[in-house]
């Protein structure tokens, strides 16, 4: 309850205001229509805004007749059903076509009044001028569309870029089977930091590299691209993977202090009994050697991250890969896959590799298990690559 003096002051003020003026000069357009929409009463404000006179509206037109064609469809498919089912509508954005053909953006509230039997009796409509608001909304809508468009563009760009960082298909090497898989983190709409490459130096002489650069997105792509092309050009003259890592280390150190990576680097050379493999690791999980009938074992010596330390230390090991024997390389997205704080770990990886399988099946099996472990939402990229010395040439 207001204090008596405030109440009487209000009543005093109200008495001074003509009730008809309250209606006619209200700061909103006000219409009453029959249930089918025919206008039966309209206030001055509405007529001032739209330029119509009462004789053109009352008994002559329905509200829907004053709308744009698009607004009419919206009225019939949304506003009218809502009014008839819910009894009212609020803040419906429409445009009224004024007497001179211009469009007046409005917001509409409407209430359906029903008779004692529940039969629709009269619709009361309040119309608010929303010119400024609509202009602002149009700008917002435009900005939203532009943002969505640039996001689509960015995703497309990321995917195209990603494809340039991973060989589209594994190369065919006589006497050496190659299988690989790459799965970027998350929904796969960002450029990942894992990569691999397999390329020929001379006949029966190949370089295999699998790595993980720091970061994600465009910055990672820059580093990946730099590493990949540096490795490719260095490998032409540098036979030793260890020496190659040293030179790559210098290149990365001189390019940017933040650009570093881990790499597993193999040089494979065909001999009469299979392949001679020389391996060097730059802070990367060591390759696993898979021999029929024997448990998987690591091959090589650990080394430092590439591009982070000066001087750096890398070592090199050589082995012979006989027929039917395989080397398996992977990034840390495999052992560090997480589920509720639990890691996939080396154990599960070794188990997954234990049973014999064709090379593509082996890769699929590991990838499936790692993805399943994380319920198909990997938080890190996963790259897998396997080599197997085969009998035929």
């Amino acid at each position: 309850m207001a204090a008596p003096d405030a109440t009487s002051a209000f009543q005093q003020a109200l008495l001074g205001d003509d009730p008809a003026a309250l209606y006619e000069k209200a700061p909103c357009g006000y219409l009453s229509t029959t249930p089918d929409g025919t206008i039966v009463k309209v206030n001055e404000t509405f007529m001032t805004w739209t330029g119509f006179v009462a004789e053109e509206l009352v008994g002559q037109r329905r509200l829907v007749d004053l709308l744009t064609p698009g607004g009419r469809i919206y009225h019939e498919t949304h506003l009218a059903p809502m009014l008839l089912v819910l009894g009212q509508v609020k803040e419906i954005a429409l445009e009224v076509v004024t007497a001179d053909g211009a469009r007046l953006p409005v917001l509409v509230n409407a209430v359906l009044d029903r008779g004692p039997e529940g039969e629709p009796r009269v619709v009361r409509v309040a119309v608010f001028d929303a010119t400024e608001r609509r202009r602002y909304e149009q700008e917002l809508l435009l900005a939203k569309r532009q943002a969505e468009e640039s996001e689509r563009h960015a995703v497309q760009l990321a995917k195209a870029l990603q494809q340039t960082l991973i060989p589209p298909t594994s190369p065919t090497i006589p006497g050496l089977e190659v299988a690989a898989a790459y799965r970027p983190a998350g929904a796969g709409d960002e450029v990942g930091g894992d990569f691999y490459d397999v390329f020929q130096i001379a006949e029966g002489d190949w370089t295999v590299v699998l790595g993980d650069v720091c970061g994600k997105g465009v910055e990672a792509a820059v580093v990946t691209s730099l590493v990949r092309h540096t490795v490719r050009s260095l490998a032409v003259t540098e036979r030793s993977p260890r020496d190659l890592l040293h030179k790559l280390n210098s290149v990365l150190l001189s390019s940017d202090p933040d650009r570093f990576c881990t790499l597993g680097m193999l040089r494979v050379h065909r001999d009469e009994e299979g392949w001679e493999v020389t391996a060097s690791s730059g802070g990367h999980p060591l390759p696993l050697l898979l021999r029929p009938g024997a448990p998987p074992e690591t091959f090589g010596e650990p080394g430092m991250i590439v591009g982070a330390f000066d001087p750096a230390h890398f070592s090199e090991s050589t082995m012979h890969l006989g027929r039917g024997e395989s080397l398996f390389l992977y990034t840390d997205g495999v052992p560090e896959a997480r589920r509720d704080g639990e890691l996939f770990g080396e154990e599960r990886l070794l188990e997954a590799l234990a049973a014999p399988a064709t090379l593509p099946d082996l890769i699929d099996r590991v990838l499936d298990q790692v993805l399943e472990f994380q319920r198909h939402h990997p938080r890190d990229d996963i790259a897998l690559l396997a080599l197997r010395a085969s009998g035929s040439s």
């Binding site: 929409g37 698009g70 469809i73 949304h78 009212q88 809508l141």
Partner: protein, 266 residues
């Protein structure tokens, strides 16, 4: 996902009775039939559902599948198949009238009759054909749509439609009726208003009732007459109602027209 969850199927009325399958049009949901469907529950098995993206439908939206009305028609056939419905009288409002025609052509063995309320096989004017709209009008409507779905994504969107003065309607209805994801609504609008199903009408081979409001600016009289003339053996009932939704504004007229149609042995 089973079809009941996918399309919020409500299966009511007389068990074992003749099936009336009600389909809503663009814009709202199965509540479009709330003044008509209950009337038939004592004499028919009454099945209602929501199209993808509407009301309580949970079916995942697939932009490609629903780029044309065919995807919606497939859903209708799926509902009939999974609920094992036969001898179905399909009652479709607005765009669902054409969805029903397509479903009938796809699975003729399922449907016994069609009731088309405010049908239009093509909304845009064409050489010698009056659909009622120009292409520019449709673009204008899409703009009106996006303008009215501005607040959809924000957390307060459901509260906007709250009707504290009519609590008997239930919060769920007041929050969901005629509201949909704006992307889905826009795609459904395109599929609806850019469709052309005129060539399908002569292929209809079941008894058909075309219901036409005396005054409907979405599907004008000329369009209703066109549909009735194009479907062999169909009958046209002109309702003394105004607007595109006689199922809401003149439910008694709609019920009467359906009962007359059924009494004729259709």
């Amino acid at each position: 996902m089973n079809v009941t969850r996918a399309h919020n199927v409500v299966d009511a009325g007389l068990p074992g009775g003749r099936v009336l399958l009600f389909a809503h049009g663009f814009g709202c949901d199965q509540n479009m039939w709330r003044y008509v469907a209950p009337h038939f529950e004592s004499s028919h098995r009454v099945v209602l559902f929501d199209h993808v993206g509407a009301g309580g439908a949970q079916a995942p939206y697939d932009a490609e599948r629903y780029a044309s009305l065919e995807g919606y028609a497939d859903d209708v056939v799926r509902i009939c198949t999974e609920l094992d419905l036969h001898d179905v009288v399909f009652v479709g409002h607005s765009v669902s009238a054409m969805i029903g025609v397509l479903a009938h052509l796809r699975a003729p063995e399922v449907f016994a009759a069609l009731v088309l309320v405010g049908p239009s096989p093509r909304y845009i004017n064409d050489d010698g054909y009056t659909g009622g709209f120009d292409r520019a009008d449709i673009d204008d409507m899409l703009a009106a749509l996006s303008s009215n779905y501005l607040g959809w994504s924000s957390a307060i969107a459901p509260a906007i439609m709250g009707t504290p003065d009519s609590p008997e309607l239930g919060a769920e209805l007041t929050q969901s009726f005629c509201r949909a994801d704006p992307d889905i609504a826009e795609r459904f609008a395109r599929a609806t208003f850019l469709s052309d199903n005129r060539a399908d009408l002569p292929l209809v081979s079941v008894p058909t009732l075309v219901m036409q409001s005396r005054d409907d600016m979405i599907a004008p009289m000329a369009v209703g007459q066109y549909v009735a003339a194009a479907i062999p053996g169909s009958s046209l009932a002109v309702l003394d109602s105004s607007g595109h939704c006689p199922n809401l504004s003149a439910p008694d007229e709609v019920i009467r027209a359906m009962e007359t149609f059924f009494a004729e042995g259709r």
